[in-house]
Symmetry: C3
């Protein structure tokens, strides 16, 4: 266990209310030695899919032993379970509503957060972030084993994975995320640079056996077809995109992004999340 | 004194400017061992009442020894006093403008922050958060006694308390706060669950002697009357509220909230802060 | 080297995405003993000048040894250099695009961040904040000398300094910054209070030799002329400004600000950044 374990917070609570500060207060009381890092609190209310993607994006950059405390919980107070799950590096705490879809593999075990010993004395029906999840994160960070929180949960709830269909000359995917700058992440990837003009494609989602191991592509002639027939060219950096146009590049996640130069590609393309895109190469 | 005392920040400075970072820098310089936790910096400019409510909401969840540093200060640079006050668990630092109304009891002693030893060398007329309040919080956190900051202040300024009138069949209150999700907190409370269908009512504000000790209510027939004649039913969780409707439930503060399911009750009811509401039971 | 060195963050990443949290995760992994303080993440996309002013405003209030990590980087992925520079108290890390204009003097040495030893293993073309700048800040904070990061850079890029023309009866400047409250900072300053009605003027930017040492001014008759002919009076605090009017006062930076009482001077005056203003005294 690390000396100063990290707890990483991801919620849809916003920053106008005292809610995030209260969760931090609860943690500071129970586990003063922890370091708390915000991933974001600006998830749109109840947008589990966006939270799941952000957790997947952020996770690899956190220290081993980090406890991810993710509370996007439209079902608070209902029968939906509060859970803890783990992998070999990290611990995850949140509602069982699909928020861990992108990071938990099929064999993950989860436990219910039902042990009152690790909850605040008076639990409300509306703020489990404060009463159940934050205390669980504090206790997990200081070494309480996952199995002490409650009984094992069978299958956890999973969101439908984004589309990723691979063919010998093209990959079909969809838009999955828009960032602050208006860049549109797609499900196409991951791509890892392997030569001046080449990338190794390594599927980040389960795909048909033939393509599990991926393959090399050349970027010189790679293009992305949008649903309205527009075709975008592959670039290496934002600066190569002509003013007012969009291009595609491999973003910081290894997935292909639709981007523009100092403009919002989201506004320029008018694409919605879930719209199909096809990479030809 | 705790080893790593917490300083909790609550301001109307917003996050676009360097102001909050500067206060953190001042604290890090004077008291590097402190842990700083934001309650919020998104109080609307000069909204002392909202800041006072948030401080009351957040306080119980912070570790003993926490210094609350609250700067919503429309009178900065005028004759309004800068003060420090305490109770048996916490220290409070801010302008004497009513911001401590909900947390300081009538017998609280306060001291003026006038000792130049605990201020920055060159104090501005516009940023006491940096020059007076942050240094005071840092010094208080590392053990400077409140009385060392200056002379005792007589009565501190108090906002008018919200309405809470208790009768044998109904409680009259008002709306006092809207949160990020559009939930409307009322002054009706506190309610503590005591049985499947029952709550203990314990007044959180001073009320007439007859009802000081509160009483039990049954929720099955409890309803809230809004000023426009609409009647809302009592529910236990958000999920019980019919789509497009509002209901009332006991929120995380123990006060009754007007809420909707994945919608803003504030928008649905069109209520303003201070509007009267009556709980029949 | 301080025991718990501070890393101060200043970016245009916003708080909706996981980007800032990822940078914090990278730092927590490489240098767990550091303390991270946000200056702001709300710089408008690519607004290097605003970032440069904020860095200048915040710097004096941070502990000696602080590493300022500033990432407003519209040229990410292009040939623009990533650099580290230092002065006798602080270290600065960011893109070489003018962001250090207000804090680095002409003789500052900078080094390129090119040593792969201090970068993440797989660097993206779009998120140098994560791959290059955050790891550099972590390593600098724990004692890696600036010269170990790469070769010295000749002149760093500098923005044009704001206008500051001094005459015996007036000082001509311009508006340089608008804050959250709508106060307009001008380039006129610094002014340090020296008597009841007097201030010492000490130029914060290089000016003609005659006035390098500044002079005393009396505020009773000092006024500010705006481009539209409006004349504003000097006040000592916000509270002296008549309702609905604007006034000028010495702000927390020592520069003259155009301000209003509980209103936005920016909206009332309709001034833009870079508009000329003249102080008569």
């Amino acid at each position: 266990m690390p000396t100063n374990p990290v707890i990483a917070l991801l919620t849809d609570f916003g920053l106008e209310d005292p809610f995030v500060g209260i969760m931090r207060g609860v943690i500071a009381k129970l586990a003063p030695q922890t370091r708390i890092i915000d991933i974001t609190h600006a998830i749109p209310q109840g947008d589990i899919q966006r939270a799941a993607v952000q957790l997947w994006m952020a996770r690899p950059y956190f220290p081993s032993g980090t406890v991810f405390l993710t509370v996007v919980d439209p079902g608070v107070g209902t029968a939906r379970k509060a859970i803890i799950t783990r992998d070999d590096k990290y611990t995850y705490i949140g509602p069982d509503n699909g928020i861990f879809s992108y990071i938990a593999d099929e064999s993950s075990t989860a436990w219910e957060l039902s042990n009152p010993k690790y909850q605040l004395a008076q639990s409300s029906a509306t703020f489990h972030g404060r009463d159940i999840f934050a205390p669980a994160a504090a206790h997990a960070a200081i070494g309480v084993p996952a199995a002490d929180f409650g009984l094992p949960v069978g299958d956890i709830i999973r969101l439908q994975k984004p589309n990723l269909q691979i063919h010998s000359d093209r990959i079909i995917g969809e838009t999955i995320y828009v960032d602050h700058f208006g860049n549109l992440l797609t499900s196409l990837g991951k791509f890892i640079k392997s030569s001046e003009q080449g990338y190794k494609f390594e599927p980040w989602l389960a795909v048909n056996d033939e393509f599990t191991n991926g393959f090399e592509i050349q970027t010189a002639r790679a293009t992305l077809l949008l649903p309205d027939g527009v075709i975008l060219n592959w670039v290496e950096t934002f600066a190569e995109i002509p003013d007012g146009d969009c291009g595609i590049l491999v973003g910081s996640t290894g997935l292909i992004e639709i981007a523009a130069l100092n403009q919002s590609a989201h506004e320029l393309t008018n694409l919605s999340l879930g719209d199909p895109v096809t990479l030809f190469f």
